[in-house]
Symmetry: C2
Subunit: 493 residues, 2 copies
């Protein structure tokens, strides 16, 4: 890049987009240069806010001309640093937040066409006003954008029934690295007229194109939805419970979340009120300690009674077979919220506790219990008394296999000192822990990033693990579509 390239590009971008759409002051840039978990701190030359796909396409043409690296960004809620610029000060963030129009709502076709900058929450609300359901659901949905959800193929708690973000999208509009607009906004369930470009862009984390709009797939809204918290003795019993629930419910099983005893313990430690509602099930008496547990959600399109019959039949069979030892079905919306709140508070409680090694792995569902057993043993052998805060989307084979420092390190310390001690332990051991877990994941034919993507955080590990053939295929595609390498360099590959 010539020294004059960046200022010339920014001057031309300002002419094209308007001065207000190009920001370069450090104070303006700061919030966009740090990722959500505050693990990656970048330095950008500027942030651009194009107001339409056409303006974005022209911006990309300019970037190609001047060889400027562009970093696509939506709600900046990614968990792998995929939307954070590097530290060079030469990359330019392109925010999609001003692309926030609703293009089309079609209740009969059950589709919603929106631009990339719409938040996930807004998309859910739009579907709701159409009498339908957009099932993608995750913690950051108030700020995460549809564009970001698709660029990272987001997961969440409804994947078991409805699939990943990829499965919830029928069509895309994309600005390519060449600065063309590809109109693939098809509202079709079936289309076999050539290569599946849509799925190539989905999950490519902004390295192959800018997703500017998408056709989202909507579903009938369930009339009845019931949640139960079920006490199980082990991950193996959780797996047996899953088999019972799937055989009885098939698609009516819309949630199956596992919480290890230690993952609930961290909630008890830091947010005891939150854990209260489930206490009778998961225990916690001084004698027995906490147990592992499963949140089951059953939905029925037409009747709450039918959902209740199904859920009760699952629990009855599980207790009869001694797969589960106790269960409560939430009897009100408030109780349902309380149970899900417990599950969702694990992440917050862990953050309150101190830094952890956070892993986002998947293995075949059939091997999940075996994986947890072997992995826990290996970890405890190497690091006695570390805490294994595992929980996650058990029905998808996806576990947030998270590891906290030994509590013994915190004896007699203040909260602040405790967090410093935990941080020191994790910083010292994170590399070893990550590699050990990933190696076992590979031995189980699993994935080291089930739903969070590679970004910067998992890139090196993924590259270490991938076969040469797969690396070559990915590089070939990147090189073919983005020969100047201007789209999100340093991410994914």
């Amino acid at each position: 890049m010539k020294p004059s390239a960046l200022p010339e590009f920014l001057a031309q971008a300002a002419r094209l987009l308007g001065d207000g759409a190009v920001k370069t002051a450090p104070s303006d840039l700061e919030p966009y240069c740090v990722d959500w978990r505050r693990r990656f701190f970048g330095k950008a030359a500027a942030i651009l806010f194009p107001g339409s796909a056409e303006l974005l396409a022209q911006t990309v043409q300019l970037a190609n001309h001047y060889q400027i690296a562009l970093v696509p960004q939506g709600g900046n809620t990614g968990l792998s640093g995929g939307a954070t610029p590097d530290a060079s000060g030469e990359q330019v963030i392109v925010s999609l937040l001003r692309l926030n129009r609703v293009r089309e709502q079609d209740a009969v076709n059950k589709t919603l066409t929106v631009e990339a900058g719409i938040t996930l929450l807004k998309a859910q609300e739009l579907a709701d006003t159409m009498g339908l359901l957009f099932p993608l659901s995750l913690g950051a949905e108030g700020s995460a954008t549809i564009g970001g959800n698709l660029a990272t193929n987001a997961g969440g708690t409804a994947v078991l029934r409805y699939g990943n973000a990829r499965d919830l999208c029928l069509g895309l509009e994309v600005v390519t690295p060449a600065g063309d607009i590809w109109n693939g906004l098809r509202r079709l369930r079936k289309d076999n007229t050539g290569y599946d470009l849509r799925d190539l862009f989905i999950g490519s984390e902004g390295t192959l194109g800018f997703i500017t709009a998408a056709v989202l797939k909507l579903f009938p809204k369930p009339a009845g939805r019931l949640t139960a918290l079920v006490r199980v003795a082990s991950a193996a019993d959780a797996l047996a419970l899953l088999q019972i629930a799937q055989a009885r419910c098939d698609a009516a099983l819309t949630g199956f979340e596992y919480m290890s005893a230690q993952s609930v313990q961290v909630v008890v430690d830091h947010f005891p009120d939150v854990a209260k509602h489930g206490a009778q099930i998961i225990g916690g008496s001084a004698d027995a300690g906490l147990s592992d547990s499963v949140l089951i959600e059953i939905s029925h399109p037409f009747s709450e009674d039918a959902a209740k019959d199904l859920l009760e039949s699952v629990i009855a069979e599980a207790i009869e077979r001694a797969t589960a030892s106790d269960a409560i079905i939430a009897q009100s919306i408030a109780q349902t919220k309380a149970l899900w709140h417990l599950r969702e508070t694990i992440t917050l409680a862990a953050a309150e506790d101190g830094v952890q090694v956070k892993l986002d792995i998947a293995v075949p569902v059939s091997r999940l219990a075996e994986f947890i057993d072997q992995m826990d043993q290996e970890m405890l052998a190497e690091f006695p008394s570390i805490r294994l805060h595992n929980f996650g989307h058990f029905g998808d084979g996806n576990l947030h296999y998270n590891i906290g420092a030994p509590q013994s390190l915190a004896a007699g310390l203040s909260a602040e000192q405790r967090r410093a001690a935990y941080r020191a332990f994790i910083e010292q051991n994170e590399g070893t822990i990550r590699r050990k877990v990933h190696d076992r994941v590979v031995a189980f034919n699993g994935s080291i990033s089930a739903e969070h993507g590679l970004g910067q955080l998992r890139k090196a590990e993924a590259w270490r693990i991938k076969s040469p053939v797969e690396r070559r295929l990915m590089k070939t595609i990147k090189q073919a579509l983005d020969p100047n390498g201007i789209l999100n360099p340093g991410k994914v590959l």
Copy 2:
């Protein structure tokens, strides 16, 4: 290509694969050089039968060296000529039929890993022995192979609930155009570790790689499955019925097939016995004539009674709202088979009747009735008294919009003379009809190949319709992955 290249390649292939795996005699080649519908007649230099992915990979390396064009072929049941060689006599067919091993069965993970040459029927049977369901289902399933189903992203009657072939595959093994083996045989529901190579190969009709093995997704087997034949006055009423059924059943609605009055008439004309069972519903008296109708299938994972309750509630609401005027629920397996046999006989009856223009289109579900109305009017204005044998996967927006010659052309002719007269009419008008239908499909943002692929049959039309950006993206990917253009040249692009 040097004149000596082909004989040298074949000699080396014979050394590699063994003499029995390389056939060049015209009589041996003939059945593999004609497509299933006998519309494309090719001439190949040879057909190869590699017995493993490793041998296939080495064969592809040889083909690259000698610049030999390879045509992948499975069960040779494709409907668009995608597996038929050209007429040059220089292309070499590569049959996947000897890759027919079962690699892995995992009932708990609900996956089945098989090689490409396994038939669809065999895959269904394997799933059944595991107590599970592999839902892909189509007419040619006794000979169609899993490799071919995935290469063409096959559809069928269960897409409404379970998706296309693409949605039923978790992982692939592929021999790339460079002769590498990509092992992407992941048995995972979630994996966000890079580009979605799997979906790029699926549906690429053998132009980007040879699919050699696949991980198939299985489902709980429904305990109750019930079918009803419902009389509706029009496509608009069929659409209203679909809305009622989806709202009440969601995923329990596993089939929704529309049959226009004229599509059933052709069955009545040629196979009157087959049409008998549905006669009380679809009519056919001299006064009233036949009506449009819909086959609805409801499945329930756990109970036949629950399926029956749902189906009855759909029919009751439809009749109350005057969306439907009559219905029968099949009361036995024999009756169920009879109703589906009526639907499946449409294609056979049409073939008996004489040649037709066969189209495989999709539009947004919400616009399907409007499309049929406008299209029928346009067709009848141009060609009075032609027959509109429309039927298809209404719930997916996918219609086999087929057109038969006017019956008046056959007055006083023998069956053979009739077919000749129909053929003459269709041959004269096919181009015009295809273009008119496709142009309206494009105006409705639809697809001109919903499930059959492009192959040779629809390539030119697809290319006429596609945007320059999309054509460029497809060509870029093809060029990057197969720079020598040895994989299935002349197909798709």
